[in-house]
Symmetry: C2
Subunit: 299 residues, 2 copies
Protein backbone atom coordinates (compact mmCIF):
# COMPACT_ATOMS: atom_id res chain seq x y z
CA UNK A 1 0.00 0.00 0.00
CA UNK A 2 1.09 3.59 -0.60
CA UNK A 3 2.44 5.51 2.38
CA UNK A 4 0.43 8.33 3.98
CA UNK A 5 1.98 11.68 4.93
CA UNK A 6 0.55 13.88 7.69
CA UNK A 7 1.91 17.42 7.87
CA UNK A 8 1.74 19.73 10.87
CA UNK A 9 0.95 23.37 9.98
CA UNK A 10 3.42 25.15 7.69
CA UNK A 11 4.69 22.20 5.65
CA UNK A 12 2.47 22.03 2.55
CA UNK A 13 5.46 22.40 0.19
CA UNK A 14 7.34 19.50 1.75
CA UNK A 15 4.11 17.48 1.82
CA UNK A 16 3.80 17.93 -1.98
CA UNK A 17 7.47 16.96 -2.54
CA UNK A 18 7.03 13.83 -0.42
CA UNK A 19 3.94 12.87 -2.41
CA UNK A 20 5.78 13.42 -5.69
CA UNK A 21 8.85 11.47 -4.53
CA UNK A 22 7.16 8.52 -2.81
CA UNK A 23 3.66 8.44 -4.30
CA UNK A 24 2.29 8.86 -0.77
CA UNK A 25 -1.28 10.00 -0.20
CA UNK A 26 -1.88 13.21 1.79
CA UNK A 27 -3.26 12.44 5.25
CA UNK A 28 -5.64 14.76 7.08
CA UNK A 29 -4.37 15.66 10.54
CA UNK A 30 -6.82 17.32 12.95
CA UNK A 31 -5.20 19.34 15.73
CA UNK A 32 -7.07 21.12 18.49
CA UNK A 33 -6.23 22.65 21.83
CA UNK A 34 -8.80 22.05 24.58
CA UNK A 35 -9.79 24.98 26.82
CA UNK A 36 -7.63 23.45 29.61
CA UNK A 37 -4.52 23.58 27.41
CA UNK A 38 -4.35 19.89 26.50
CA UNK A 39 -3.65 18.91 22.89
CA UNK A 40 -6.06 16.85 20.81
CA UNK A 41 -4.88 14.93 17.75
CA UNK A 42 -6.87 12.89 15.21
CA UNK A 43 -5.77 11.10 12.05
CA UNK A 44 -8.65 11.47 9.61
CA UNK A 45 -6.99 9.20 7.02
CA UNK A 46 -6.68 5.45 7.64
CA UNK A 47 -3.14 4.23 8.32
CA UNK A 48 -3.63 0.47 8.83
CA UNK A 49 -1.13 -1.46 6.74
CA UNK A 50 0.56 1.73 5.49
CA UNK A 51 3.82 3.50 6.24
CA UNK A 52 2.89 6.70 8.12
CA UNK A 53 5.07 9.80 7.81
CA UNK A 54 4.67 12.81 10.13
CA UNK A 55 6.19 16.12 9.08
CA UNK A 56 6.81 18.60 11.90
CA UNK A 57 9.68 21.06 12.24
CA UNK A 58 10.52 21.43 15.92
CA UNK A 59 11.34 25.12 16.38
CA UNK A 60 9.71 26.19 19.69
CA UNK A 61 9.62 22.50 20.63
CA UNK A 62 7.80 22.33 23.97
CA UNK A 63 4.44 23.15 22.36
CA UNK A 64 4.98 20.72 19.45
CA UNK A 65 6.62 17.57 20.79
CA UNK A 66 3.60 16.19 22.68
CA UNK A 67 1.08 16.56 19.83
CA UNK A 68 3.66 15.08 17.43
CA UNK A 69 4.24 12.06 19.68
CA UNK A 70 0.46 11.65 20.16
CA UNK A 71 0.04 11.53 16.38
CA UNK A 72 2.85 9.00 15.88
CA UNK A 73 1.59 6.81 18.75
CA UNK A 74 -1.93 6.91 17.27
CA UNK A 75 -0.62 5.69 13.91
CA UNK A 76 1.18 2.77 15.57
CA UNK A 77 -1.94 2.03 17.61
CA UNK A 78 -4.01 2.02 14.42
CA UNK A 79 -1.65 -0.56 12.88
CA UNK A 80 0.52 1.52 10.59
CA UNK A 81 3.41 -0.63 9.30
CA UNK A 82 5.86 1.96 10.62
CA UNK A 83 5.42 5.56 11.80
CA UNK A 84 8.30 7.97 11.34
CA UNK A 85 9.09 11.63 11.89
CA UNK A 86 10.41 14.12 9.36
CA UNK A 87 11.63 17.05 11.46
CA UNK A 88 13.40 19.45 9.06
CA UNK A 89 14.63 21.20 12.22
CA UNK A 90 15.34 18.91 15.16
CA UNK A 91 15.28 20.69 18.52
CA UNK A 92 17.09 19.90 21.76
CA UNK A 93 20.43 18.95 20.19
CA UNK A 94 22.48 21.70 21.86
CA UNK A 95 22.35 20.56 25.52
CA UNK A 96 24.36 17.44 24.68
CA UNK A 97 26.58 17.48 27.79
CA UNK A 98 26.57 18.63 31.43
CA UNK A 99 28.33 22.00 31.22
CA UNK A 100 27.62 22.76 34.90
CA UNK A 101 27.03 20.18 37.67
CA UNK A 102 23.39 19.12 38.00
CA UNK A 103 22.34 20.06 34.48
CA UNK A 104 19.74 17.99 32.69
CA UNK A 105 21.03 16.68 29.35
CA UNK A 106 17.87 17.46 27.45
CA UNK A 107 19.12 16.02 24.14
CA UNK A 108 19.39 12.57 25.72
CA UNK A 109 15.92 12.72 27.30
CA UNK A 110 14.23 13.94 24.12
CA UNK A 111 16.10 11.22 22.23
CA UNK A 112 14.72 8.60 24.62
CA UNK A 113 11.16 9.96 24.50
CA UNK A 114 11.05 10.13 20.70
CA UNK A 115 12.82 6.78 20.23
CA UNK A 116 10.25 5.15 22.52
CA UNK A 117 7.35 6.15 20.25
CA UNK A 118 8.56 6.65 16.66
CA UNK A 119 10.14 4.09 14.31
CA UNK A 120 12.50 6.39 12.42
CA UNK A 121 13.63 9.98 12.08
CA UNK A 122 14.77 12.18 9.19
CA UNK A 123 16.19 15.66 9.78
CA UNK A 124 18.38 18.32 8.15
CA UNK A 125 21.81 19.18 9.63
CA UNK A 126 21.20 18.40 13.29
CA UNK A 127 23.47 20.29 15.70
CA UNK A 128 26.01 17.47 16.21
CA UNK A 129 28.78 19.14 18.11
CA UNK A 130 30.03 16.54 20.59
CA UNK A 131 28.34 13.51 19.04
CA UNK A 132 29.60 11.78 15.89
CA UNK A 133 26.08 10.95 14.70
CA UNK A 134 22.41 11.00 15.65
CA UNK A 135 22.78 7.37 16.73
CA UNK A 136 24.46 8.65 19.90
CA UNK A 137 21.17 10.33 20.86
CA UNK A 138 18.43 8.43 19.01
CA UNK A 139 17.98 4.67 19.36
CA UNK A 140 15.84 4.48 16.21
CA UNK A 141 17.14 4.52 12.61
CA UNK A 142 17.76 8.06 11.44
CA UNK A 143 18.88 9.79 8.26
CA UNK A 144 20.51 13.18 8.03
CA UNK A 145 19.89 15.42 5.02
CA UNK A 146 22.84 17.72 4.26
CA UNK A 147 21.91 21.31 3.46
CA UNK A 148 25.46 22.02 2.20
CA UNK A 149 24.85 21.09 -1.49
CA UNK A 150 21.75 23.31 -1.74
CA UNK A 151 23.56 26.15 0.05
CA UNK A 152 26.61 25.80 -2.24
CA UNK A 153 24.37 25.85 -5.31
CA UNK A 154 22.65 29.00 -4.07
CA UNK A 155 25.98 30.73 -3.37
CA UNK A 156 27.38 29.79 -6.78
CA UNK A 157 24.26 31.25 -8.45
CA UNK A 158 23.92 34.40 -6.32
CA UNK A 159 27.32 35.56 -5.01
CA UNK A 160 30.31 36.66 -7.11
CA UNK A 161 33.75 35.87 -5.65
CA UNK A 162 32.43 34.46 -2.37
CA UNK A 163 34.56 33.92 0.73
CA UNK A 164 32.89 31.42 3.02
CA UNK A 165 33.12 32.45 6.67
CA UNK A 166 32.38 30.25 9.66
CA UNK A 167 31.44 32.50 12.58
CA UNK A 168 32.93 30.12 15.19
CA UNK A 169 34.99 26.96 15.61
CA UNK A 170 31.84 24.81 15.97
CA UNK A 171 30.85 25.75 12.41
CA UNK A 172 34.33 25.07 10.99
CA UNK A 173 34.13 21.60 9.50
CA UNK A 174 30.68 22.23 8.19
CA UNK A 175 31.46 25.58 6.50
CA UNK A 176 34.51 23.97 4.87
CA UNK A 177 32.16 21.44 3.30
CA UNK A 178 29.97 24.21 1.82
CA UNK A 179 33.07 26.07 0.62
CA UNK A 180 34.41 23.01 -1.12
CA UNK A 181 31.08 22.38 -2.86
CA UNK A 182 30.87 26.08 -3.86
CA UNK A 183 34.51 25.99 -5.01
CA UNK A 184 35.31 28.99 -2.80
CA UNK A 185 37.89 29.75 -0.10
CA UNK A 186 36.93 29.59 3.55
CA UNK A 187 37.96 31.12 6.89
CA UNK A 188 36.70 30.39 10.41
CA UNK A 189 36.45 32.99 13.18
CA UNK A 190 36.96 32.35 16.89
CA UNK A 191 34.02 32.87 19.18
CA UNK A 192 33.99 33.51 22.89
CA UNK A 193 30.55 32.87 24.31
CA UNK A 194 29.82 34.49 27.66
CA UNK A 195 26.09 33.73 27.87
CA UNK A 196 22.99 33.16 25.75
CA UNK A 197 22.99 36.67 24.37
CA UNK A 198 26.58 37.88 24.79
CA UNK A 199 29.03 36.75 22.14
CA UNK A 200 32.23 38.24 20.67
CA UNK A 201 34.14 37.04 17.64
CA UNK A 202 37.85 37.41 16.90
CA UNK A 203 39.36 37.74 13.45
CA UNK A 204 42.16 35.73 11.80
CA UNK A 205 44.54 37.39 9.31
CA UNK A 206 42.61 37.62 6.06
CA UNK A 207 44.16 40.34 3.90
CA UNK A 208 44.36 38.24 0.75
CA UNK A 209 40.54 37.78 0.71
CA UNK A 210 39.53 41.45 1.07
CA UNK A 211 38.21 41.72 -2.49
CA UNK A 212 35.74 38.88 -1.95
CA UNK A 213 32.14 38.96 -0.71
CA UNK A 214 32.05 37.33 2.71
CA UNK A 215 29.32 34.72 3.12
CA UNK A 216 28.66 33.88 6.75
CA UNK A 217 27.17 30.42 7.20
CA UNK A 218 25.86 28.89 10.43
CA UNK A 219 23.55 26.00 11.19
CA UNK A 220 21.20 27.62 13.71
CA UNK A 221 20.43 31.34 13.84
CA UNK A 222 18.59 32.01 17.10
CA UNK A 223 19.57 35.29 18.81
CA UNK A 224 21.84 36.00 15.76
CA UNK A 225 24.40 37.45 18.19
CA UNK A 226 27.15 35.19 16.83
CA UNK A 227 26.48 36.39 13.28
CA UNK A 228 26.13 40.03 14.33
CA UNK A 229 29.51 39.90 16.11
CA UNK A 230 31.01 38.31 12.97
CA UNK A 231 29.56 41.08 10.77
CA UNK A 232 31.10 43.74 13.01
CA UNK A 233 34.52 42.05 12.87
CA UNK A 234 34.36 41.53 9.09
CA UNK A 235 33.44 45.18 8.48
CA UNK A 236 36.17 46.33 10.91
CA UNK A 237 38.68 44.24 8.91
CA UNK A 238 37.66 46.06 5.72
CA UNK A 239 35.35 43.51 4.14
CA UNK A 240 32.19 44.30 2.15
CA UNK A 241 28.82 43.77 3.84
CA UNK A 242 28.45 39.99 4.20
CA UNK A 243 25.70 37.71 2.97
CA UNK A 244 24.33 35.77 5.97
CA UNK A 245 23.14 32.21 5.49
CA UNK A 246 21.53 30.11 8.19
CA UNK A 247 20.23 26.59 7.79
CA UNK A 248 17.61 26.83 10.54
CA UNK A 249 15.81 30.19 10.87
CA UNK A 250 14.86 30.22 14.56
CA UNK A 251 15.24 34.03 14.93
CA UNK A 252 14.28 34.55 18.58
CA UNK A 253 12.48 37.81 19.48
CA UNK A 254 13.88 40.68 17.33
CA UNK A 255 16.92 38.72 16.07
CA UNK A 256 15.99 39.05 12.39
CA UNK A 257 15.59 42.86 12.56
CA UNK A 258 18.80 43.13 14.57
CA UNK A 259 20.71 41.08 12.02
CA UNK A 260 19.36 43.29 9.23
CA UNK A 261 20.31 46.42 11.18
CA UNK A 262 23.81 45.07 11.86
CA UNK A 263 24.70 45.40 8.18
CA UNK A 264 23.98 42.07 6.52
CA UNK A 265 23.94 42.57 2.74
CA UNK A 266 21.34 39.83 2.56
CA UNK A 267 19.90 37.21 4.95
CA UNK A 268 19.03 33.86 3.49
CA UNK A 269 17.92 30.60 5.14
CA UNK A 270 16.91 27.09 4.17
CA UNK A 271 13.20 26.29 4.43
CA UNK A 272 13.53 23.91 7.41
CA UNK A 273 11.74 26.44 9.67
CA UNK A 274 9.10 28.57 7.89
CA UNK A 275 10.39 32.19 7.79
CA UNK A 276 10.40 35.22 5.48
CA UNK A 277 14.13 34.67 4.84
CA UNK A 278 13.66 31.14 3.39
CA UNK A 279 15.31 31.11 -0.05
CA UNK A 280 17.18 27.80 -0.20
CA UNK A 281 14.85 24.89 -0.85
CA UNK A 282 15.85 21.60 0.80
CA UNK A 283 12.46 19.90 0.35
CA UNK A 284 13.64 17.83 -2.62
CA UNK A 285 16.68 16.59 -0.67
CA UNK A 286 14.45 15.65 2.28
CA UNK A 287 11.94 13.88 0.04
CA UNK A 288 14.74 11.88 -1.63
CA UNK A 289 16.03 10.72 1.77
CA UNK A 290 12.52 9.74 2.95
CA UNK A 291 11.92 7.93 -0.35
CA UNK A 292 15.12 5.95 0.14
CA UNK A 293 14.19 5.13 3.73
CA UNK A 294 10.74 3.89 2.69
CA UNK A 295 12.25 2.00 -0.23
CA UNK A 296 10.02 3.89 -2.66
CA UNK A 297 10.36 6.30 -5.45
CA UNK A 298 7.26 7.66 -7.22
CA UNK A 299 6.90 6.89 -10.92
Amino acid sequence: MTPVVFAFPGHTGLMRQLQAETGAIAGTLVLHRFPDGESYVRLDTPVAGREAVFVCSLADPDAKLLPLLFAVAAAKDLRAVRAGIVAPYLAYMRQDARFKPGEAISSATVGRLVSGIADWLVTVDPHLHRHASLDAVYAIPSRVVQAAPAIATWIAANVTKPLLVGPDAESGQWVAQVASAANAPCIVLDKTRRGDRDVTVSMPSTERFRDRTPVLVDDIVSTAHTMIAAIVDLRRAGFAAPVCIGVHALFADHAYAELQAAGAARIVTCNTVPHASNAIDVDAAIAAEVGALLGRKAV
Copy 2:
Protein backbone atom coordinates in the same frame (compact mmCIF):
# COMPACT_ATOMS: atom_id res chain seq x y z
CA MET B 1 20.25 9.72 53.50
CA THR B 2 17.35 12.15 53.70
CA PRO B 3 15.27 12.64 50.55
CA VAL B 4 15.48 15.86 48.54
CA VAL B 5 12.39 17.67 47.24
CA PHE B 6 12.49 19.92 44.17
CA ALA B 7 9.42 22.09 43.61
CA PHE B 8 8.42 23.72 40.33
CA PRO B 9 7.05 27.29 40.75
CA GLY B 10 3.92 27.68 42.88
CA HIS B 11 4.40 24.81 45.33
CA THR B 12 6.22 26.28 48.35
CA GLY B 13 3.42 25.24 50.75
CA LEU B 14 3.50 21.62 49.63
CA MET B 15 7.31 21.70 49.69
CA ARG B 16 7.18 22.70 53.38
CA GLN B 17 4.64 19.98 54.18
CA LEU B 18 6.79 17.37 52.46
CA GLN B 19 9.82 18.49 54.44
CA ALA B 20 7.85 18.36 57.71
CA GLU B 21 6.41 14.94 56.90
CA THR B 22 9.48 13.20 55.50
CA GLY B 23 12.42 15.22 56.85
CA ALA B 24 13.46 15.90 53.25
CA ILE B 25 15.83 18.70 52.39
CA ALA B 26 14.66 21.45 50.02
CA GLY B 27 16.37 21.14 46.65
CA THR B 28 17.17 24.12 44.45
CA LEU B 29 15.74 23.74 40.95
CA VAL B 30 16.98 26.14 38.26
CA LEU B 31 14.60 26.59 35.31
CA HIS B 32 15.31 28.74 32.28
CA ARG B 33 13.90 29.12 28.80
CA PHE B 34 16.48 29.68 26.07
CA PRO B 35 15.79 32.38 23.44
CA ASP B 36 14.93 29.60 20.95
CA GLY B 37 12.16 28.28 23.24
CA GLU B 38 14.00 25.24 24.60
CA SER B 39 13.82 24.49 28.32
CA TYR B 40 16.89 24.36 30.55
CA VAL B 41 16.83 22.50 33.87
CA ARG B 42 19.51 22.23 36.56
CA LEU B 43 19.45 20.53 39.95
CA ASP B 44 21.57 22.71 42.23
CA THR B 45 21.32 20.27 45.14
CA PRO B 46 23.14 16.90 44.99
CA VAL B 47 20.86 13.88 44.62
CA ALA B 48 23.35 10.97 44.54
CA GLY B 49 22.25 8.27 46.97
CA ARG B 50 19.03 10.14 47.85
CA GLU B 51 15.37 9.71 47.02
CA ALA B 52 14.47 12.65 44.73
CA VAL B 53 10.93 14.06 44.73
CA PHE B 54 9.70 16.47 42.03
CA VAL B 55 6.59 18.54 42.74
CA CYS B 56 4.82 19.89 39.65
CA SER B 57 1.10 20.33 39.11
CA LEU B 58 0.32 19.72 35.45
CA ALA B 59 -2.36 22.27 34.57
CA ASP B 60 -1.45 23.63 31.08
CA PRO B 61 0.67 20.52 30.60
CA ASP B 62 2.41 20.96 27.24
CA ALA B 63 4.72 23.66 28.63
CA LYS B 64 5.49 21.72 31.82
CA LEU B 65 5.88 18.05 30.94
CA LEU B 66 9.23 18.30 29.13
CA PRO B 67 11.04 20.35 31.83
CA LEU B 68 9.59 18.02 34.47
CA LEU B 69 10.84 14.92 32.64
CA PHE B 70 14.25 16.58 32.08
CA ALA B 71 14.53 17.18 35.84
CA VAL B 72 13.53 13.61 36.74
CA ALA B 73 15.90 12.14 34.13
CA ALA B 74 18.74 14.33 35.45
CA ALA B 75 18.17 13.01 38.99
CA LYS B 76 18.33 9.40 37.77
CA ASP B 77 21.42 10.24 35.72
CA LEU B 78 23.04 11.76 38.81
CA ARG B 79 22.42 8.55 40.74
CA ALA B 80 19.39 9.36 42.84
CA VAL B 81 18.09 6.15 44.48
CA ARG B 82 14.68 6.80 42.94
CA ALA B 83 13.12 9.87 41.32
CA GLY B 84 9.37 10.35 41.58
CA ILE B 85 6.73 12.88 40.61
CA VAL B 86 4.17 14.53 42.86
CA ALA B 87 1.63 16.03 40.46
CA PRO B 88 -1.25 17.34 42.60
CA TYR B 89 -3.13 17.73 39.29
CA LEU B 90 -2.36 15.09 36.68
CA ALA B 91 -3.15 16.19 33.13
CA TYR B 92 -4.12 14.13 30.07
CA MET B 93 -6.45 11.72 31.87
CA ARG B 94 -9.58 12.66 29.95
CA GLN B 95 -8.72 11.34 26.47
CA ASP B 96 -8.74 7.76 27.75
CA ALA B 97 -10.48 6.20 24.75
CA ARG B 98 -10.99 6.68 21.00
CA PHE B 99 -14.31 8.55 20.85
CA LYS B 100 -13.99 9.09 17.09
CA PRO B 101 -11.98 6.95 14.63
CA GLY B 102 -8.36 8.03 14.32
CA GLU B 103 -8.11 9.82 17.65
CA ALA B 104 -4.87 9.74 19.59
CA ILE B 105 -5.37 8.37 23.10
CA SER B 106 -3.20 10.97 24.78
CA SER B 107 -3.60 9.53 28.29
CA ALA B 108 -1.88 6.31 27.16
CA THR B 109 1.00 8.14 25.44
CA VAL B 110 1.63 10.48 28.38
CA GLY B 111 1.48 7.42 30.66
CA ARG B 112 4.15 5.72 28.57
CA LEU B 113 6.39 8.80 28.38
CA VAL B 114 6.24 9.48 32.13
CA SER B 115 6.58 5.80 33.07
CA GLY B 116 9.70 5.55 30.92
CA ILE B 117 11.49 8.25 32.92
CA ALA B 118 10.07 8.46 36.47
CA ASP B 119 10.07 5.76 39.17
CA TRP B 120 6.78 6.61 40.85
CA LEU B 121 3.84 9.01 40.79
CA VAL B 122 1.58 10.55 43.42
CA THR B 123 -1.49 12.59 42.46
CA VAL B 124 -4.83 13.80 43.81
CA ASP B 125 -8.11 12.46 42.38
CA PRO B 126 -7.04 11.70 38.81
CA HIS B 127 -9.88 11.72 36.28
CA LEU B 128 -10.45 7.94 36.20
CA HIS B 129 -13.61 7.57 34.20
CA ARG B 130 -13.14 4.44 32.12
CA HIS B 131 -10.13 3.03 33.97
CA ALA B 132 -10.35 1.30 37.34
CA SER B 133 -7.00 2.67 38.50
CA LEU B 134 -3.92 4.61 37.43
CA ASP B 135 -2.20 1.26 36.83
CA ALA B 136 -4.19 1.01 33.58
CA VAL B 137 -2.32 4.09 32.31
CA TYR B 138 0.95 4.24 34.27
CA ALA B 139 3.39 1.31 34.38
CA ILE B 140 5.16 2.74 37.45
CA PRO B 141 3.92 2.49 41.07
CA SER B 142 1.41 5.25 41.81
CA ARG B 143 -0.59 6.44 44.79
CA VAL B 144 -3.81 8.40 44.65
CA VAL B 145 -4.63 10.96 47.33
CA GLN B 146 -8.39 11.34 47.90
CA ALA B 147 -9.60 14.92 48.22
CA ALA B 148 -13.01 13.73 49.51
CA PRO B 149 -12.14 13.74 53.25
CA ALA B 150 -10.76 17.30 53.12
CA ILE B 151 -13.78 18.45 51.07
CA ALA B 152 -16.22 16.75 53.47
CA THR B 153 -14.50 18.41 56.45
CA TRP B 154 -14.72 21.80 54.75
CA ILE B 155 -18.43 21.32 53.97
CA ALA B 156 -19.22 20.19 57.53
CA ALA B 157 -17.49 23.31 58.88
CA ASN B 158 -18.84 25.84 56.38
CA VAL B 159 -22.27 24.79 55.04
CA THR B 160 -25.44 24.29 57.10
CA LYS B 161 -27.82 21.57 55.87
CA PRO B 162 -25.81 20.75 52.72
CA LEU B 163 -27.19 18.76 49.78
CA LEU B 164 -24.32 17.32 47.77
CA VAL B 165 -24.94 17.61 44.02
CA GLY B 166 -22.99 15.83 41.31
CA PRO B 167 -23.33 17.85 38.10
CA ASP B 168 -23.18 14.77 35.87
CA ALA B 169 -23.15 10.96 35.91
CA GLU B 170 -19.33 10.87 35.72
CA SER B 171 -19.15 12.60 39.09
CA GLY B 172 -21.75 10.33 40.71
CA GLN B 173 -19.73 7.75 42.59
CA TRP B 174 -17.24 10.34 43.71
CA VAL B 175 -19.80 12.86 44.99
CA ALA B 176 -21.53 10.05 46.89
CA GLN B 177 -18.25 9.43 48.70
CA VAL B 178 -17.97 13.11 49.75
CA ALA B 179 -21.65 13.09 50.82
CA SER B 180 -21.16 10.02 52.95
CA ALA B 181 -18.09 11.55 54.64
CA ALA B 182 -19.99 14.83 55.20
CA ASN B 183 -23.03 12.90 56.43
CA ALA B 184 -25.24 14.70 53.91
CA PRO B 185 -27.72 13.57 51.23
CA CYS B 186 -26.68 13.52 47.59
CA ILE B 187 -28.25 13.84 44.13
CA VAL B 188 -26.66 13.48 40.69
CA LEU B 189 -27.75 15.45 37.61
CA ASP B 190 -27.68 14.19 34.04
CA LYS B 191 -25.42 15.94 31.57
CA THR B 192 -25.60 16.07 27.83
CA ARG B 193 -22.30 17.21 26.34
CA ARG B 194 -22.43 18.53 22.79
CA GLY B 195 -18.90 19.92 22.56
CA ASP B 196 -16.09 21.40 24.67
CA ARG B 197 -18.06 24.47 25.59
CA ASP B 198 -21.72 23.48 25.15
CA VAL B 199 -23.26 21.52 27.98
CA THR B 200 -26.80 21.20 29.36
CA VAL B 201 -27.85 19.52 32.58
CA SER B 202 -31.20 17.88 33.38
CA MET B 203 -32.79 17.76 36.82
CA PRO B 204 -34.05 14.76 38.82
CA SER B 205 -37.05 15.16 41.14
CA THR B 206 -35.73 16.77 44.31
CA GLU B 207 -38.57 18.44 46.15
CA ARG B 208 -37.75 16.97 49.54
CA PHE B 209 -34.29 18.67 49.52
CA ARG B 210 -35.45 22.23 48.68
CA ASP B 211 -34.65 23.59 52.14
CA ARG B 212 -31.01 22.54 51.89
CA THR B 213 -27.98 24.43 50.52
CA PRO B 214 -26.90 22.71 47.32
CA VAL B 215 -23.16 22.00 47.15
CA LEU B 216 -22.00 21.21 43.62
CA VAL B 217 -18.85 19.12 43.56
CA ASP B 218 -16.79 18.18 40.50
CA ASP B 219 -13.24 16.95 40.05
CA ILE B 220 -12.06 19.27 37.25
CA VAL B 221 -13.45 22.76 36.63
CA SER B 222 -12.16 23.91 33.26
CA THR B 223 -14.70 25.88 31.19
CA ALA B 224 -17.11 25.60 34.21
CA HIS B 225 -19.94 25.12 31.71
CA THR B 226 -21.06 21.90 33.42
CA MET B 227 -21.30 23.70 36.78
CA ILE B 228 -22.97 26.76 35.28
CA ALA B 229 -25.63 24.60 33.64
CA ALA B 230 -26.14 22.84 36.98
CA ILE B 231 -26.54 26.18 38.79
CA VAL B 232 -29.19 27.27 36.29
CA ASP B 233 -31.12 24.02 36.75
CA LEU B 234 -30.86 24.12 40.54
CA ARG B 235 -32.12 27.73 40.68
CA ARG B 236 -34.92 26.91 38.24
CA ALA B 237 -35.95 24.04 40.54
CA GLY B 238 -36.24 26.47 43.47
CA PHE B 239 -32.96 25.83 45.26
CA ALA B 240 -30.84 28.47 47.01
CA ALA B 241 -27.66 29.67 45.30
CA PRO B 242 -25.26 26.70 45.39
CA VAL B 243 -21.78 26.47 46.81
CA CYS B 244 -19.44 25.25 44.01
CA ILE B 245 -16.52 23.02 44.90
CA GLY B 246 -13.92 21.83 42.42
CA VAL B 247 -10.93 19.66 43.21
CA HIS B 248 -8.75 20.97 40.37
CA ALA B 249 -9.10 24.69 39.56
CA LEU B 250 -8.17 24.78 35.87
CA PHE B 251 -10.55 27.68 35.04
CA ALA B 252 -9.89 28.21 31.33
CA ASP B 253 -10.15 31.77 29.97
CA HIS B 254 -12.97 33.63 31.78
CA ALA B 255 -14.49 30.52 33.39
CA TYR B 256 -14.02 31.74 36.97
CA ALA B 257 -15.76 35.09 36.32
CA GLU B 258 -18.52 33.32 34.39
CA LEU B 259 -19.09 30.88 37.25
CA GLN B 260 -19.30 33.79 39.70
CA ALA B 261 -21.73 35.63 37.41
CA ALA B 262 -23.88 32.50 37.01
CA GLY B 263 -24.95 32.75 40.65
CA ALA B 264 -22.59 30.58 42.69
CA ALA B 265 -22.97 31.49 46.36
CA ARG B 266 -19.31 30.66 46.81
CA ILE B 267 -16.58 29.00 44.70
CA VAL B 268 -14.07 26.87 46.53
CA THR B 269 -11.30 24.59 45.26
CA CYS B 270 -8.56 22.35 46.61
CA ASN B 271 -5.00 23.69 46.34
CA THR B 272 -3.88 21.18 43.68
CA VAL B 273 -3.68 23.96 41.06
CA PRO B 274 -2.70 27.38 42.46
CA HIS B 275 -5.75 29.69 42.15
CA ALA B 276 -7.52 32.48 44.09
CA SER B 277 -10.36 30.06 44.91
CA ASN B 278 -8.10 27.59 46.76
CA ALA B 279 -9.58 27.07 50.24
CA ILE B 280 -9.35 23.35 50.87
CA ASP B 281 -5.83 22.28 51.78
CA VAL B 282 -4.80 18.81 50.60
CA ASP B 283 -1.05 19.31 51.14
CA ALA B 284 -1.03 17.32 54.40
CA ALA B 285 -2.80 14.40 52.72
CA ILE B 286 -0.32 14.48 49.82
CA ALA B 287 2.67 14.65 52.17
CA ALA B 288 1.36 11.68 54.18
CA GLU B 289 1.05 9.60 51.01
CA VAL B 290 4.55 10.56 49.83
CA GLY B 291 5.94 9.79 53.30
CA ALA B 292 4.34 6.34 53.18
CA LEU B 293 5.71 5.74 49.68
CA LEU B 294 9.23 6.72 50.75
CA GLY B 295 8.89 4.69 53.95
CA ARG B 296 9.64 7.78 56.02
CA LYS B 297 7.91 9.94 58.51
CA ALA B 298 9.71 12.98 59.95
CA VAL B 299 10.30 13.00 63.72
